[in-house]
Subunit: 190 residues, 2 copies
């Protein structure tokens, strides 16, 4: 089975966000994300690695986080740093595409939509962190941009609390987004 019109968006699975020393909720989904990527490859689904990479001085991060960067401070995912790398177990290979973003949505001020459109992508599957921020903003933009189907794998995404995760999954479901578990997605043909 080759789903050439589908892309898997893997969001922010970087060492500074979900690596050793970070909160458990993010680390907990790493095995599920690894499995989702494996299944995607088997299905011929295009894998797009969406990551944040920020200026050392924080000049390209949201204002509310800018105080974390600067002369004697090292904020998360500085371009070129170890913390900006993907966590162990996840790797960019073959014809995967890497997309760098500086805001929540993978579509905000990036070439993602143009890249996906001209690659013939009509359906999106989303995994990674965090549900209320990057996942949700990307998903709402994808729906607004008229992708034919948008799927969020419920146990390959995570938030700081399960209440926040669930509340956001409900909101996305209510705008037509599919929210299968990883097992349900693996058993489906989408």
């Amino acid at each position: 089975m080759v789903l050439t019109n589908t892309a898997l968006l893997v969001l922010d699975m970087q060492k500074d966000f979900v690596g050793p020393g970070t909160p458990d909720f993010g680390q907990a989904i790493i095995p599920s994300v690894i499995k989702a990527v494996d299944i995607a490859r088997q299905r011929g689904v295009l894998v797009v690695w969406v990551v944040r990479e920020h200026d050392r001085l924080g000049r390209d991060i949201e204002r509310f986080r800018r105080h974390m960067y600067g002369d004697n401070k090292t904020g998360p995912v500085v371009k070129g740093s170890k913390g900006a790398e993907l966590v162990d177990g996840l790797e960019i290979t073959g014809d995967d595409y890497k997309l760098v973003k500086t805001r929540f949505s993978a579509f905000f001020a990036t070439n993602l939509h143009s890249f996906l459109q001209s690659s013939g992508i009509e359906k999106l599957v989303v995994v990674g962190v965090q549900t209320p921020n990057c996942i949700r903003q990307t998903v709402f933009d994808a729906v607004s941009l008229d992708y034919k189907s948008v799927t969020v794998i419920s146990d390959a995404t995570a938030a700081s609390t399960s209440a926040v995760h669930e509340a956001n999954m409900v909101d996305m479901k209510n705008i037509g987004v599919a929210t299968p578990t990883l097992q349900e997605w693996c058993e489906s043909d989408a």
Copy 2:
């Protein structure tokens, strides 16, 4: 003199575009671009290196150029390749910012405007290649985005023929863009 509200945008001065073996018109402006960068640094002007970097398979380049990339072909400025590097004599240092784009305008599907706005930049000076494409599109977008002043240094930009260069400089001048020579710009306080 520190012009903290001004940025110098240096466009596409990469080996595959203006390095050894490329047409003379691009190579000819390298000394002027080097000097413009030097002057900018002396003035405290933020230097932004705008470059193209493309997917090996060409999936993120304009459709009309996509045929140059693919399995057995190596198109220009492939991400990570030697040809994507800046030409000798130009170097990213200190608090310079690097901005990767995949279309003509430096503002198209990038975070440039947001970065410049939140860095307090109100005035832009543009150098690099080529006048009718990346220079002009960036300049028209800058004017449309209401930057207070937009300057194109006439002899630190270039096109394949001087007729094309001149015709485009006229068009830009007609929408309020300043078009000094490098010497005139050096002698001015802007």
